[in-house]
Amino acid sequence: MEPIRTLRSRTAVLPVSDVDTDQIIPARFLTTTTREGLGKHLFADWRYGPDGALRADFALNHPQAAGCAILVAGNNFGCGSSREHAPWALTDYGFRAVVSTQIADIFRSNSLKNGLVPVIVDPATHRWLLEHPGVEVSIDLETTTLRHPAGEARFPLEPFARYCLMNGVDELGFLLGREAEIAAYEGRAGIR
């Protein structure tokens, strides 16, 4: 995984709360056996009309949302299904961070493993960002700070996840390195 230290981008704003992973990528696209190429299905039922054409009234289809790497969404983003296809679709589309006031547990965990930074901000910062789509925002992992034109906000990030993101470390390698402890546990528990 590419190390991430700072992200700088304009924001795309999706002012919808409780966005579930069925919206991020509908179930009919889950028959894939790879991780690649899911960006075209991102928000498929919101993004495309019945004829398959892009819907002009969907926030991400606005010209100013093009090329944005930071998605600001309503409260409680990523609830529902555990499908990792959700962060795969978001990153393949080009997003590197999602900003909300609350991010569902499994989605947050999946995001961290795919270089998508989950940024949980206070309600006032969140409101300001929702009201100002397209502003230039920076997300600094060193200081866990989000800076926007009218101020800044700290955000929580689990220290180990932050370390992995900043150093491009993958957790599997870390777990494999704990072999001696795992074997000792299995010995105590009588697992062979």
Partner: protein, 468 residues
Amino acid sequence: MSATARTLFEKVWRAHEVAAETADTPAVLYIDLHLIHEVTSPQAFTVLRQRALKVRRPHLTFATMDHSTPTRTEQVFGGAPIAIEAAARQVRELEVNCAAFGVELLDLRHDRRGIVHIIGPELGLTQPGKTVVCGDSHTSTHGALGALAFGIGTTEVGHVLATQCLLQRKPRTFAINVTGKLPAGVGAKDLILSIIGRIGVGGGTGHVIEYRGDTIRALDMDGRMTVCNMSIEAGARAGMIAPDETTFAYLAGRPRAPQGEDWERVLEGWRALPSDPGARFDREIDIDVSRLEPMVTYGTHPGMVLPIGGAIPERPDDPVFAKSLAYMGFSPGQPIKEHPVNVVFIGSCTNGRLSDLRLAASILRGRKVASGVQMLVVPGSQQVKREAEAEGLDRVFLEAGAEWRESGCSMCLGMNGDLVAKGHYAVSTSNRNFEGRQGVGARTLLASPLTAAACAVRGRVTDPRELM
């Protein structure tokens, strides 16, 4: 209060710490049972291949196919089972992966196949005090037996395959104390829907819920599984219920449960699992269900729920709420009862067990599904199907005009082509009423098996107590 009083969750967590968490690193948690299915495992096996890794403990890993499998008997047992090519490929890949890595698989025609969260407990694989994971959010179901069970993503599926461990921060605990006798016609599904309505779809985020109190103790195992199943719909990491005599009686004699002397030995450990008196939870709420009514959802997430006699709420200044109602074709202030229904689905890991089918059949016996309504009854497993047939429930459904299918997830998420048409209203015993969940433009009303069956008979949203 004793300083060492521990919750059920803490006991299971501690017993599985390969390494405790520190300020810098999460805990390394050992996993006793890893369930896998066709949709969320292929990319994990790819990682094992890329890194030349083995499955560390194949005998702690167990596979089934359920999400994209067909439910029509002639498809399952006929020549070319899966019509959707990509789904067929995914199922084949699971077969190949399980064979290559030595993982036991209940394949399409196996007589114990079923939805992953139905067969874990049914086979006795899920046991009190175990850690259980699966690349599926409704893994919370297994907590009904006193296991710590939670859904994980595909990268983590790879971690567990390779190391039998996960890196986890310790979640917080949340006690929901439920008291009072459930009124007639009101059951476990109504109970959990009302809890989600109260705490909200993000209300359990970061927490493991323990359901406690005399109402929970009085539920049978099927009902407890319905409750724990939907913990994720409140955003919780997991739901748990302390094991008791009901749990032990359920597990005794199941094919993968310990037998003989082993059974006596494990039982002793299981009896020590319930939360100690005075154990502290990070959060606690009390709920009295003695006046609870049948519940039904009206919106596009499970927290948008009301008693069946109620009216759609009015929230004039909430555009997200308005958008949700527009999708559903409902207006603020409108009563939900008597609204026409097109489809009724009985099944899923929430309500696809034998007692759910019995409840639905109790309403349908001697009655007909209303004309123009499609009713699909999909048992949660092949075992549930056989047991239902032994009791003649299949006859009740077929004579009423419902369809009786082979087991699988089916219309819960429509991956196998069992879909609700655009704009149609489905009363469903499943767990998610998200936009498009049951088909593009489909409108889902979540309800109990009793309510769903009553809706099928009348062709309208109906209080099941009117037909009891």
